[in-house]
Symmetry: C2
Subunit: 389 residues, 2 copies
Amino acid sequence: MENFVFQNKTKIIFGRDTENQVGEEVAAYAKKILLHYGGGSIKKSGLYDRVTASLKKAGVEYIELGGAQPNPRLSLVKQGIDICRKEGIKFILAVGGGSAIDSAKAMAVGVPYSGDVWDFYSGKGMPEKALDVATVLTIPAAGSESSPSSVITNEDGDLKRGLTTDLIRPVFSILNPVLTFTLPAYQTACGAADIMAHIMERYFTTTQCADFTDRLCEAAMKTIIHNVPTCINEPENYDARAEVMWAGCVSHNDLLGTGRNQDWSSHGIEHEISGIYDVAHGAGLAVVFPAWMKYVYKSNVNRFVQFASRVWGIDIDFHNQEKTALAGIAALEKFFISIGMPVRLKEMDVGADRLEEMADKCTGSGSWTIGGFMSLDRNAVLEILKLAV
Amino acid sequence: MENFVFQNKTKIIFGRDTENQVGEEVAAYAKKILLHYGGGSIKKSGLYDRVTASLKKAGVEYIELGGAQPNPRLSLVKQGIDICRKEGIKFILAVGGGSAIDSAKAMAVGVPYSGDVWDFYSGKGMPEKALDVATVLTIPAAGSESSPSSVITNEDGDLKRGLTTDLIRPVFSILNPVLTFTLPAYQTACGAADIMAHIMERYFTTTQCADFTDRLCEAAMKTIIHNVPTCINEPENYDARAEVMWAGCVSHNDLLGTGRNQDWSSHGIEHEISGIYDVAHGAGLAVVFPAWMKYVYKSNVNRFVQFASRVWGIDIDFHNQEKTALAGIAALEKFFISIGMPVRLKEMDVGADRLEEMADKCTGSGSWTIGGFMSLDRNAVLEILKLAV
């Protein structure tokens, strides 16, 4: 096990009707906030009304900024920063999924910074301060509700980049599984693929001896595999929705990554796809991950045998472990297909004509490599993209 | 899944040589502290010298109070409270195992309280304030390094009682597995029994549908079962010591108990044994837990079948599930025996002459029941104690 530091300050308030506590929770921090959300779905569902009623009851004044969309945009972030500065706001409440939350986190680091907030995403600097962010989660997927991460798309150049700092872990997050009852099957499945990817980015490690976190990762993956089909077939099954919501949150707060080398190349590659094509992040990951696995498994067959055996319950073929490894990858692909995810680029209407461009952007035209499990250069990334066609 | 609130503020600093960071970490909070520890072992091992050197280097003044012992005493707590008040100390650093930490936590709530600190342990009130506590852990067992709990023994009446409040979660804890290399086999095993008990108190639940936390509990139990024998056979095996140390910590920060009804009757019963006889808490739990299981398993055979199958890998006998349930209990008992734990009271030189007294103290002479998995009255507790003879 490798040395690590782990602290997760986020207070999780989980369960039925918990969104009605939001005003009281916010009031402990601020009396005037930015209320940030996505499209109209929270208005249609009545969630907007319940949240704003709770804020009003607690005497919290709010300025609204809607419009966060999948692959959240830098331009909206800058708009939010301007509002917070003008209104003297120190607290942002994001109501929605990962897009609204990631967008709010970007505003939180941007407000107290005199330069361009994109600096933090392009690696030109790290934030030293941030406003407080809190969330009411509506989509279990990104794990942003207790993670130290935010991913933003800069429309100027189709660049999708991430920032990780404990400063942007939300101070509290409200998770009510009932709010996910109305999620369409496709979005539920995209979320599941994203959660599986967050676990697998950590699971596929070169760290020897990370037994406890291996088993935690396996526990989380089995929870997703077991419960997501129920969420799709019975959208109002509270228990299945609750399992996915809680597992999705824990899967990305980095408990599962403690003491381990992690990979993250599939996320890197997927960001290039959704940066250009605006496909759903989860769907992109369902395409990239199996392709990545097929490219890298020979570098550590053992680990893929463990994945096949412990996660998918596949009998190990002791005469041909590679066969077992491949059976595990096939099981993952089959699972993604079974919940309605694409597993090839063409299923998302992404052609093969810009693969070189994506491989370039992902590796600075070959000036750096990606991936902790196996180091991938530009050509390796290109090969993986070709396997995904 | 039941509604819950979960927040764990403790910063975990894990790995080799991390105790040398203690001064710097403390200095962010206080310049004058109480340094609390147990007997002489930290002086013999050199840990005391490294911790005090780090404190001095960071300009942190410390007043010492040693003498914390297993089943930590109220009298020492009161001594610590007096020192903190007299010296104007607002921060307590505990160096040691659960005893030093629990003792420090009791001081932390006692200092700002005008009444008797025992009020908080005897259920007469809940603390509203606490000093900051931090730890350098030397024994993976109690989980007190990131838990909201503290257990203290009042010598006046042999009463051992607990307090649970988020106020007493340590602000940081330093976990260096190397510090556990010198733990004797018996203490290592006692720690393992304590950790297993913390998981099982949560695992045996009446909550339907707690799939994710079930699997997390199973992951933690398998980690302990797999790694503790290695710790005993190869005391300086870093990886095995690290797995047990990290699993022990996570097992009692209550992540594994989120959204679940929990039991805790075995802890309640064991406290009466170690309150009178001063046996090691872990050893007492190794005796009580199998006895408790034998008494309660019929109330939910299914859960014991899951325990047998998933934790111990026992083939389910579908014609006789009770047989499978009993095989799981036997496997736990066999595991405890294999690591040198007692599984009967007589092995700890505890006779059968004070069982009635213990059953009385545990249930207020029959005025209350204990246990979330199965409600136990005075007679049930007595029957369990008899099964443990």
